[in-house]
Symmetry: C2
Subunit: 269 residues, 2 copies
């Protein structure tokens, strides 16, 4: 690392971190801002698919983080500032005291991504997930259950949004992903490569708990509320989570955890 | 319902709704404030265990909600105010336009609660869940899988906090609960009544997916980070969710969904 002291919040060397709340909503030319120690540890680890660009931390955090900072690639700029200057740059009180700038992996299309997968693989397909909490939770679960990757249709929100990265506890930075195919095209691309595509929907008669998963399985999830479209469901194997409470309602991230647990632990046929 | 027009934010008839953000953090003498249409529907439904006390809504919401409001007990005060007055009462912009005041059920101790349960029952035991998002998610999942109730140790946060109720999509208002026993006492009370108590912990050698649940099963969950204490785990059957990602990390609400799905769908021995 390359330690740089910063005292002036207007110093151009930290301009990438300026007003992160507002800038989160706009593009950053392939860069993203992440926050907090947990995420920094992932970004600095070998598992990360994203390159660290620079770090901005509060003075008081420097000693405790030295070991993580030393794991960053040689020459990575680490800007150290008093908490007040950090807050002034970020535009709000950054109680975690850590911001990191990273570079997203080069975008990969769904077909190219699928062509590189092994014989046995579990994939998550996200359609219309627009909530950053849900997106973060979905990535966290995808990583926990060792899925081969997450596919996102064009109506999904950006998983590299700061809050989604934080909720994912860094899983967004280490999980392969591919973008661009709409629900129908995603299903087609998966089926063409031997994936059984499960459409998670409360309307299904097949219970998830009785499903014997195929070696290549994709789990398709729609947004809360509308869920997956009828056209997409019709092209897949519809599967439902059996609930007994007269309260048919699981959050989409919880749904992904339940489905991934079943698919990764139930015996294949 | 009893419609009352309110134009002055200082009108004493809406004082219970004043500055809800701040007052959320303090006691309300057995009352709670909930927000949004989804939660109001639960509060007005037969499934609710809480009595509606009064409602405060924006004028523009009145027509769309008439049917729900008419399901409230006769005489329930429904205060209707312009959005600006509503915002002034609440102390922030209330874009949902709906607040409801309800009365919590009478507090029940763990032993009395357990004595009333049927021969087959699934219970969730929460130890040290201090995050309102997690508490809300846990209740949402408990309701979805039809559990008999949620037990909370004295270090859990209040599930009737506004955000927890919202995240639970109203499940907090319709799920039986009991308070007060610490982890050890909770385990003892459960075991004395024939419950097999599963301690969810990554340290377990028994995989959840291979567990055959007992007719009476309790699922104990600790806070993210520290998890359940070693003393509590030692008195239970430790069970782990098998993860394959080298990323041993599920959110506690996701953990509850996975465990409840397995316990409610796997065949009993």
């Amino acid at each position: 690392m390359n330690l740089i002291s910063v005292s002036d919040p207007d110093d151009p060397c930290v301009s990438a971190f300026r007003d992160v709340k507002e800038r989160d909503l706009t593009g950053r030319q392939g860069l993203f801002v992440a926050e907090g120690e947990v995420v920094l540890r992932v970004l600095a680890s070998k598992a990360s698919l994203c390159a660290p660009v620079s770090v901005l931390i509060a003075e008081k955090r420097l000693e405790g983080l030295r070991e993580v900072l030393e794991a960053l690639p040689e020459g990575t700029a680490v800007h150290v500032a008093p908490q007040a200057a950090l807050d002034a740059v970020a535009g709000f009180h950054l109680h975690r005291g850590i911001l990191a700038l990273g570079r997203k992996p080069a975008p990969v299309g769904v077909e190219a991504f699928l062509d590189g997968l092994p014989e046995r693989a579990v994939i998550v397909g996200a359609c219309g997930i627009g909530n950053h909490d849900n997106m973060g939770g979905l990535f966290r679960n995808a990583a926990a259950f060792g899925t081969a990757g997450v596919l996102m249709d064009p109506t999904c929100c950006d998983p590299f949004y700061r809050k989604a990265i934080r909720v994912s506890v860094g899983a967004v930075l280490r999980t392969p992903m591919a973008f661009g195919a709409s629900g129908g095209a995603m299903v087609e691309a998966l089926q063409a490569r031997g994936f059984e595509v499960l459409a998670l929907t409360p309307s299904a008669t097949q219970a998830l708990s009785e499903l014997r998963p195929a070696p290549r399985t994709a789990i398709l999830l729609g947004s809360e509320g509308p869920g997956l479209s009828a056209q997409v469901i019709a092209r897949c194997r519809p599967v439902g989570i059996r609930m007994s409470g007269g309260f048919d309602s699981l959050n989409v991230a919880a749904t992904s955890a339940v489905a991934l647990h079943h698919v990764t632990t139930a015996a294949a046929p």
